[in-house]
Amino acid sequence: MAKVKSLADLKKMKEQLQSKVDLREKGEDPESRVQIKVAMATCGIASGAKTVMDYFLEELDKRSIDAVITQTGCMGYCYAEPTIEVKLPGQEPVVIGYVDVKKADEIIEKYIKNGELVDGIIPMNYNTIDNQ
């Protein structure tokens, strides 16, 4: 890929990208995308949330997983930062704490790809049978 430096370079790259985007938009509706929220308040950032977010942005694109990655505020689990919330299509969101790059890789490979739960889940939206 040529080096992008100016807005004109970006414009040139655009056509190439557009075809890729069209292809995806036709194939899937937005609700079927994996949604990841990285908690990025002071506590999260100080414990390395940025590194985790960079990793997800890079790796999910590389591994061709269609995901929306956004930031969120502090969820009150400052002791377990960096925390992330992962929502697989059609499922309840899951909050996972103590996420570093290694953990993020495990989350992609186990939870996002196969739906296997991983260690470190914070029972934030935990429902007992009684209140279901």
Binding site: V4, L10, K14, L17, V21, T42, I45, A46, L57, T70
Partner: protein, 181 residues
């Protein structure tokens, strides 16, 4: 916070919470006056005077999930450690301006860190907000404006996974030329 870019990422969250539609991040390095100034300006809801008076107190926060708010106090502490200062101006309904001045040559001034990555995270995670990032070193200046980028991309979303690395590359290669101190 390990570097200044993380402080910027942190403080920008306040502007996002304040429902700003335009957030301007400006870094001005002046080696003659020996200052390193970071200014974050937003057009969000603003801070009422009584809150503004105590935002630098670590036991002040607008959150309900916890009782402490360390973003601004930590940034202030870092600025003051170099002999600089942090000031906040705000008007309800108009927006807020935060200015942190560091002494450029002071050994306690943290490094800038991965600012290109921080700007790209902010842009991609908040597709509805416009960001302007400008960085000047004495008379040299680089400006990244998402309004211009949006126009160049002509309908292609800024948070598109294949666009994100291009934006990062664009910012990083332009900053390289500025020779950031």
């Amino acid at each position: 916070m390990k570097d200044l870019s993380l402080h910027i990422l942190d403080i920008a969250q306040n502007s996002i919470t304040a429902k700003a539609s335009l957030i301007q991040i400006a870094i001005a390095e002046d080696t003659v006056a020996d200052t390193y100034t970071i200014t974050i300006t937003d057009n969000g809801c603003g801070i009422p005077p009584e809150m503004l008076a105590k935002v630098t107190d670590p036991y002040t926060t607008s959150r309900t999930t916890r009782k402490v708010g360390l973003g601004i106090p930590l940034f202030k502490q870092n600025a003051e450690r170099t002999g600089g200062q942090l000031t906040l101006e705000s008007e309800v309904g108009k927006g807020t301006v935060l200015t942190a001045v560091f002494v450029h040559s002071n050994i306690d001034r943290p490094i800038l860190g991965d600012i290109a990555g921080v700007v790209v995270i902010l842009v991609s995670a908040n597709p509805k907000i416009d960001f302007v990032y400008s960085h000047s070193v004495n008379s040299n200046r680089y400006v990244f404006d998402t309004r211009e980028v949006r126009e160049a991309l002509d309908g292609l979303p800024l948070n598109e996974p294949s666009v994100i690395p291009l934006l990062k590359e664009m910012i990083a290669s332009n900053l390289e030329e500025l020779q950031i101190g």
